[in-house]
């Protein structure tokens, strides 16, 4: 984000406690030091907003329509629910309703999914809600390199982008190839581990769960291919289908509530388009269909882990 701001004056960031406080997950740390002024009541490039998700999402949308490139942080994506009318009914619709004469180059980003015992109101996986809406793009990178490169693409994109981060990913360390002009491609999934017996398909933190599950399964001689979807809308069905047609089995893994989560959409499409290549029904692993409980043992039960994935894989063989 800092690089984007350096390259383009029209890029700004707004959200709650992102400036002086450096962000609740420290994602925006160091930006205030560069673009904010401690003495000022407000700093338009790194703007600490009041707690008004709908209001500032709408203001950012209007600013984008007038040609700025705002990045809006939701402290957690659960709070974006307050802004759903703005995002779905306004931001996502303006290009179509105007038949292309008004663009909205905006990025909505923030941590979504469960963290540690944040309980029912703070643990939503919202990416499926947004990936449901024509007019939005939705990406969910799983690696530091993808987070870096795809953020640059998101800011450069002239369409509204929902950039979904799972808080469990913030502590992952990895190297990036720093290049101010790099762009991480949207609509392109990647194979993070090759295999031949089954395709494990997931995104965001679940990609790492899938990689861990693959390690466990390897010990039993099951060779699993891990597909990291990383772009939900647009969705790279080509890569997903190529993997399934090779392995003949698929399990889709997602943290969101099992019933109706975005992984269900992926599973449905695999069933429709890869039927001739499937040796088993498409399996799914989703979060339990419950509001997230507070007690750590209950919470852990709700979130899919590598043992849940291993169990789902065994069910298919």
């Amino acid at each position: 984000m800092l690089e984007c701001m350096e390259q383009d004056e029209s890029v700004l960031i707004m959200g709650e406690d992102i400036g002086r406080y450096q962000g609740t997950f420290k994602v925006t740390r160091n930006i205030f030091a560069k673009y904010g002024d401690k003495q000022s009541r407000y700093n338009l490039r790194i703007l600490d907003t009041p707690i008004t998700e709908a209001g500032f999402s709408g203001i950012a949308t209007g600013a984008a329509m007038a040609g700025l490139r705002p990045i809006v942080e939701f402290m957690t994506m659960s709070f974006s629910i307050l802004a759903l009318d703005q995002i779905i009914n306004h931001t996502a619709k303006i290009h179509y309703m105007s038949n292309g004469v008004v663009k909205c180059p905006i990025v909505f980003r923030g941590p979504g999914g469960a963290a540690k015992q944040l309980s029912a109101q703070h643990s939503h996986s919202m990416e499926g809600w947004y990936a449901h809406v024509p007019g939005l793009k939705v990406v969910a990178p799983a690696t530091p390199q993808d987070a870096y490169a795809m953020m640059k693409t998101a800011v450069a994109d002239d369409n509204p982008v929902v950039f979904y981060e799972n808080p469990g990913l913030y502590s992952i360390k990895g190297s990036i190839v720093q290049d101010v002009n790099v762009r991480g491609e949207f609509g392109k999934a990647q194979i993070l581990r090759e295999g031949k017996d089954l395709s494990l398909i997931g995104y965001s933190r679940m990609t790492h769960v899938n990689l861990a599950a693959a390690e466990l399964l390897e010990k039993d001689g099951i060779s699993v291919e891990v597909v990291d979807v990383r772009s939900l809308l647009p969705l790279d069905t080509e890569t997903i289908y190529a993997s399934v047609r090779k392995t003949n089995r698929a399990v889709v893994v997602y943290e969101d509530w099992r019933s109706g989560g975005f992984g269900a959409e992926i599973a449905a499409r695999i069933g429709e388009d890869c039927f001739d290549h499937l040796d088993a029904p498409v399996g799914r692993v989703g979060g339990l269909n419950v509001p997230m409980p507070y007690a750590r043992n209950l919470e852990l039960q709700c979130i899919p882990d590598e043992n849940d994935v291993v169990a789902a894989v065994r069910k298919l063989r």
Binding site: T52, G62, M65, L68, H95
Partner: protein, 352 residues
């Protein structure tokens, strides 16, 4: 509990006293205002006819009775430079800013030659080249977007102002208060204009606002706030000019409640206005007709005659007929256009 309809109109009593309007305009200028208001009137009347004939569908809201408000404000801004945004009662704003009325009519009819190629309809007229950013269907939902246009001006340090129109019903929406707070916090050059026609669809002002003096809502946010009568185009223009100039110079927001009245229903589907108001109160308020008022004033001051007024009316009526015919002759969009312009650079998943 008294069940009679409450006192009608805000004539005189509830509106802050306006100074006697100086007529500094020439007869030619006044005739122009007359023409502009009458054009909107005849256009909107024709739109209602078109709706009843099945040429327009969905929701279609006309500006009949409120013409002075729009014409007054648009004469106070730098057209094409400043930004204007409103809700769904938007034909008049677009036309005043210079959008081709044939394209507006065609859009309402869902034709390919409409402002949005038939993709938006009556509620979603956009013309950013003229500074017109729509055209929005969620009551109060566009208010932060209007403030966002002003935010961009603040950010760039340019001297544009944004006119951010809403109705009295919209003034209750939560996001409006969120926006007022930020507009004041960040010194946004945004003029919030409440077109108070005393009804939120079928619910009158006294039944939807705990305090009917909507102008006060800017005060808790330290925003300059005022109430004005919007049924006299010259008073409207003068008040609007003062506010626009003040905002442009001071780079601060403004919240203004403009009293007006709509003579037609809320929208084309509102065919039984007696469900929520009486014929008597309508007749009283129709005496506030801004077009009759201007015509009467010009005739009294020998700036126009009845014959000239009639001739202008006939001319405008014929022009609107031509517009209607041209719009009606246009084709509908091609069916494959359904996927166009959702994104700037791609299509969604296609097919059922």
């Amino acid at each position: 509990m008294d069940s009679r309809p409450l006192a009608v109109g805000f004539q005189g009593k509830r509106v802050a006293k306006q100074a006697e309007t100086q007529i500094t305009h020439t007869p030619a200028e006044l005739e122009q205002y007359f023409r502009e208001m009458l054009f909107i009137r005849r256009f909107e009347e024709k739109a209602n006819v078109a709706y009843r004939q099945g040429k327009m569908g969905g929701y279609m809201h006309t500006y009949i009775g409120m013409e002075a408000l729009c014409v007054g404000w648009m004469h106070a801004i730098r057209k094409g430079h400043d930004n204007v945004i409103t809700a769904y009662r938007d034909h008049a704003h677009a036309i005043q800013l210079g959008t081709d009325p044939v394209k507006v009519m065609a859009e309402c009819m869902g034709r390919k030659t409409g402002t949005a190629g038939g993709k938006g309809g009556s509620m979603h007229i956009f013309d950013p080249e003229k500074g017109f950013y729509g055209g929005w269907g969620i009551v109060g939902g566009h208010i932060p977007i209007g403030a966002g246009l002003a935010f961009a001006s603040r950010y760039r340090g340019d001297d544009k102002v944004t006119l951010n129109f809403m109705g009295d019903g919209a003034a209750n929406q939560g996001v409006v208060f969120e926006t007022l707070n930020m507009a004041s916090l960040y010194d946004l050059p945004c003029i919030f204009i409440v077109e108070n026609n005393e009804f939120a669809m079928g619910t009158r002002l006294e039944y939807h606002a705990s305090d009917t003096e909507l102008w006060k809502r800017g005060l808790p946010f330290k925003i300059e706030s005022k109430r004005i009568d919007g049924m006299d185009v010259l008073e409207m223009e003068q008040a609007a000019k003062e506010i626009v100039d003040w905002v442009r110079e001071n780079q601060r927001p403004y919240w203004v409640e403009v009293m007006c009245y709509r003579f037609s229903g809320h929208g084309a589907a509102d065919q039984d206005r007696q469900l929520y108001r009486t014929k008597e109160e309508e007749e009283i308020n129709m005496q506030r007709d801004p077009i009759s008022r201007l015509r009467k004033m010009m005739i009294e001051r020998n700036m126009m005659t009845d014959e000239v007024a009639e001739a202008i009316d006939a001319e405008i009526t014929e022009e609107v007929e031509k517009i209607y015919a041209e719009a009606d002759a246009a084709p509908f969009p091609d069916v494959d256009e359904v996927y166009d312009n959702i994104y700037t650079d791609m299509s969604p998943e296609q097919g059922h």
